[in-house]
Amino acid sequence: MTERLVIEPDLNFIKDVGMLGGEDLKKCYQCATCSVVCPISPDNRPFPRKEMIAASWGLKDKLVKSADPWLCHNCGDCSTRCPRKAKPADVLAAIRAQAISEYSGPKVLANALNNPKMLPILLLVPAVYILIMGTIMGKIFNFQFLNFSPEGTIVHAKMVSTWLVDVVMLTAAGFAALTFFNGVKRFLCDIHQNALAEGKTTQQAIDAGGFIQALIRTIPAILRHAKFNECTENKERGVSHMLVLFAFIGLFIVTSIFFVAIYGLQIHGPYSQLNPVKWLANVSGVALIIGSILLIKTRMSKPDQKSAYKDWLLLGLVLGLGVTGMGAQLTRLAGWAGVSYAVYFIHLILVWFTFAYLPFSKLAHLVYRTVAMTYAEFAGRK
């Protein structure tokens, strides 16, 4: 007696997938063209055909608890070839957005990130947080962390103290890390259960050693964009995405070095433009701007592909980070004090936004896709 799948369609899930860009989902008539044309789909239980029927039948658990939607790189080969224009790529993107909401608590925050009306409030939070923290810390340490009328040569730390910036950003990063920790723990457990139930794994249990080895094997592939390069429809996107990813890595290195410089070596900024670390910072900043512009251009040139709010939010944020970062520096060098301080403050808000909301926004794919790909490597899913 085979175990029967009990069907209990979740009508709200179907509606949500529709609102997140998968509104053509129901057009699917299960021909499986998508699974055939997908260059990166595994041979055993390939996607996205099975995801299409599960989604149109509202079987939420089968989808958000599966690693497969994350193996998809949204190249769009399936959507281009779909005879019914059901846009499987966009459906999988919508499923991923649902999974992010599912694993990142609190849910209110996840929902707010998917709601354009909430954007002003979400932006206001870091501004208010910086001001409150600055005031409180000022009272406690009896030090002026905030000064909205700095004088003399432009030094951004004169307006918002580096100490304050670090406290504010580290709390945001800590919150994100904690959220991710909880989410990933549940996510990994669920995708393993799902893989066991659907016969998609060779492993009975997850052992840490094996998993870490799989991670070591996976990371170079991610950096090389090996999967991206298998796509035919959207090849140029691989390059743009690579620019953005390496820009973030570059900026992470720069930030780490300057963190050491400030707290270890007591060297305070602004640093000389001749400093090689500064070169890396500038190259990364430019790469971030170019990469994000290219990504935006690609999306705009593909009217077939659905771009939901979540997509524009992330691209806008990345571009904003690059523009405000470089803008603050250039206006500083130009000596435009007022503009420079204002742009810097916006930059701080966006950086905080990125850190704190990371587990809730589309950027969370950084973590979930890495985990899913690592799991696939670990489970021998090819």
Partner: protein, 778 residues
């Protein structure tokens, strides 16, 4: 008619290059015919030549040129006998001189040289000359009394539409409905399938507005609470007796004796008089078919729109699906009634039914077959009914589990629109079980698109049962025909009233009676309305053809009809019994009474008649026999190694055109065969086969349509009957020490032209193996 002959030979299209026209002309001129050759007969010069000759009194033209299937109008001369000799497709184009060498200058007068192509052309010309000697110019058959009124049986959407369409075309119509009110099944529906662009939403049934529209035509008489007791006579002159349903009257139609009553104790067929006595006894209280009702109403043609009833499963037929076990498993017809009454509720306890599973295929032993009498309409009805659940409840869910989801034509839009609803779930799958689950139900299905065996909780389960034609339960038409009151062989069409799936919609197996709507096949309202138009037009075509004394279909416009030489009739009744259309009614002694307007001119009676007393003006036992005898059969007196001669009797409907197509495509076939076109293989009289063999021909084959389940015969039974007759002749041949393999029958479809050369080659091979006919040269 005093025949004045003219023979014309065309030299165009390669004929002149391939054949020795002079020699060919001599074939006719040696017999005293006037022969004219022309570079291109269909050209201006050629046509003028023909016209001038006709004006000068030529009335029997033998035109040796292209196939009679092309340039029909160019070579049509009214009031003249025109015989076309197909020396283009069947001779020159299919037998190139590269294979069948022309004689060289030295060989030209060499008597021992065998010029196959020239011999073939010369045979065909001789055959045509023999034929025109024997045939007559046909004269139309006119009825003494003729009525143009149309009777529509059935007052549902189809009947109403047909009546309106016929009235719009200016014909008087009477519509009869068994029930007390018009409307039929459509009255019981909440919504109907869309009939207009964009074909996306169910719509209010059109039946009420159609009933209203019907009332606005003064030429339409409406009889409700009425059925047909009998329809006697023939198209153009039907006498119809009406009665109330259930009533017993003397003009109720009599039934033929069942087979077990036709024999005596020893199983021998009774004599005619005894049979008749039994027949009278069996039908006591009912007048014989040949007695006309003096009070009957006259009609010219009938549209049969008697409709359908929902299929009602037997007690334990679908027990595995819970039907009959729980009241919450219903048929789609029952579900429609529930939906029409208000919000969808469970029959068992009246609770709201928010989760409904629609099962399209019963499974269990039946493989992936749908329910009986189902078709695309049952798929569409499931989609329609799925929308009811969604309309009634915001959280309603409709599941459709199908083996086939059939949404042809514009209904694909409807499918797409329903599929788009987030609360409608579709999957292919095999339902294995429906079981009770507390107050509700559990549906289990295997092999679904979800990749796993699934289980769905349901409040209500709906079975997509089909539409049973009214003619399944009752003859309805009650024809006063000797073959019986109902259609014959409807089992070939899954009980629907039809005569050919593809080529002849609306035509039933009875001329003058045209089926439309649910009685013809299960269909949607939109299709039924279109069907009604088709059947009404067919009825009109019938009236207008009968009025001019020509055949309706499939030989539309044919002026001939079977002519019986009764003095020699032996009352064997074969013609009466074998006629596929019930055209003949025999009297108490068994003498056939022809009803020419019922006839479709296939000649099956002519093929059946052992006395050979049934003939057509331009197609007779004698005309074909003469053609057979005109074929020159070479013997050892002529050549050291004489070529074989094989006769092919070719069905005009599919096989002959297929040969033409083969010729047009320059496919070649054996040059030893000679073809004679026949109206239908059913018209082949075995005497022709005997004539051929006794003349020394080495083999005979019949080539016609497929028969059996997927038959393509234009006359339903012709090719099947021919096969039976050919088998019988095989036995007779053995007694003459001739091998039965010398006679064969081949089935071809019109698109199988490319297979014909191989077929012929194999048959010739068989004959070569048997050796020449020993009767040759006698």
């Amino acid at each position: 008619m005093n025949k004045k002959y003219g023979v014309y030979i065309c030299q165009g299209c390669g004929i002149g290059e391939s054949l020795n026209i002079e020699k060919l002309s001599e074939v006719a001129s040696d017999e005293g015919y006037s022969v004219k050759a022309c570079p291109a007969l269909c050209g201006k010069e050629g046509v003028e030549l023909l016209k001038a000759d006709v004006a000068a009194g030529v009335n029997t033209l033998v035109i040796a040129a292209c196939s009679p299937r092309v340039l029909y109008d160019t070579f049509r001369f009214d009031g003249c006998i025109v015989e076309r000799v197909n020396i283009r497709e069947h001779v020159v184009w299919s037998h190139p001189r590269t294979t069948w060498l022309a004689p060289t200058e030295e060989q030209k007068d060499d008597e021992t040289f065998i010029d196959h192509v020239q011999m073939m052309a010369s045979d065909y010309l001789k055959m045509a000359l023999a034929k025109v000697e024997k045939i007559k110019l046909p004269e139309p058959y006119k009825l003494d009394t003729f009525t143009k009124k149309i009777l529509v049986i059935g007052g549902g959407i189809t009947g109403i539409s047909a009546a309106i369409d016929a009235a719009k075309a200016g014909y008087e119509v009477t519509i009869v409905e068994k029930e007390a009110a018009l409307g039929g099944n459509a009255l019981k529906w909440r919504k109907q399938l869309p009939t207009d662009y964009p074909y996306e939403k169910p719509m209010a049934p059109v039946i009420q507005s159609k009933i209203k529209e019907l009332g606005s035509y003064p030429g339409i008489a409406i009889k409700t609470g009425t059925v047909v007791a009998r329809i006697a006579g023939q198209p153009g002159d039907f006498t119809v007796t009406f009665k109330k349903p259930g009533e017993k009257i003397e003009f109720d139609v009599p039934f033929p004796l069942p087979p077990e009553m036709r024999v005596d104790e020893s199983g021998k067929e009774l004599e005619a008089e005894k049979l008749h006595a039994r027949y009278l006894e069996y039908n006591q209280g009912r007048v014989d078919i040949l007695t006309s009702d003096p009070n009957g109403e006259k009609f010219g043609a009938v549209v049969l729109a008697a409709g359908w009833r929902p299929y009602q499963p037997q007690e334990n037929e679908y027990a595995h699906l819970g039907f009959g076990v729980t009241p919450d498993v219903v048929t789609n017809a029952h579900f429609e009634e529930i939906a029409a009454a208000g919000k969808i509720k469970r029959p068992s306890d009246g609770k709201e039914a928010k989760s409904v599973v629609f099962i399209q295929s019963p499974g269990q032993g039946g493989g992936d077959q749908d329910f009986p009498y189902a078709a695309s309409v049952t798929s569409l009805v499931a989609l329609k009914q799925a929308t009811y659940v969604r309309a009634d409840y915001a959280d309603g869910k409709s599941f459709i589990i199908y083996q086939h989801m059939r949404t042809p034509g514009m209904t694909e839009n409807f499918y797409k629109a329903v599929q788009q609803d987030p609360g409608v779930f579709l999957t292919k799958g095999q339902v294995t079980k429906v079981a009770k689950n507390g107050a509700g139900l559990i549906v289990e299905a295997d092999d679904t698109l979800l990749g796993k065996a699934i289980q769905i909780k349901a409040d209500l389960v709906v079975l997509a049962t089909g539409m049973v034609p009214a003619t399944k339960d009752d003859p309805v038409i009650n024809l006063a025909y000797r073959q019986g009151p109902a259609f014959r062989d409807n089992a070939l069409f899954n009980d629907y009233a039809d005569s050919n799936y593809i080529c002849f919609p609306y035509e039933t197996q009875r001329t003058g009676i045209y089926a439309a709507g649910g009685v013809r096949r299960s269909m949607t309202t939109e299709e039924a309305m279109e069907d009604a138009t088709g059947a009404a037009l067919k009825a009109i075509q019938c009236l207008e053809s009968v009025n001019r004394g020509v055949s309706v279909h499939p030989r539309s416009g044919d002026l001939t009809f079977p002519d019986f030489f009764f003095q020699r009739c032996t009352q064997c009744k074969r013609c009466t019994q074998e006629c596929p259309f019930g055209a003949l009614d025999d009297d108490e002694r068994g003498t056939p009474k022809p009803n020419p307007t019922r006839c479709r001119r296939c000649g099956t009676c002519m093929g059946a008649c052992p006395e050979r007393i049934i003939n057509f003006a331009n197609y007779s036992i004698d005309s074909v026999s003469s053609m057979v005898k005109a074929i020159k059969v070479p013997s050892t007196d002529d050549f050291d190694e004489p070529p074989l001669r094989i006769l092919g009797l070719i069905c005009e409907n599919d096989a002959y055109p297929a040969l033409d197509i083969a010729g047009m495509n320059r496919l070649s076939w054996n040059a030893d065969v000679r073809f004679i076109p026949v109206r239908c293989l059913g018209s082949v009289n075995v005497i022709w086969i005997k004539d051929a063999l006794s003349k020394g021909m080495d083999g005979v084959f019949l080539m016609g349509c497929k028969h059996g389940d997927d038959y393509q015969c234009h006359f339903v039974k012709g090719s099947e009957l021919a096969e039976i007759r050919v088998k019988k002749i095989g036995e007779a041949l053995s007694s003459l020490a001739l091998e039965p393999e010398r006679v064969a029958q081949f089935q071809v479809a019109i698109d199988e032209y490319d297979k014909i050369p191989q077929m012929l080659q194999e048959f010739v091979g068989t004959i070569e193996g048997l050796g020449p006919n020993p009767f040759k040269g006698f």
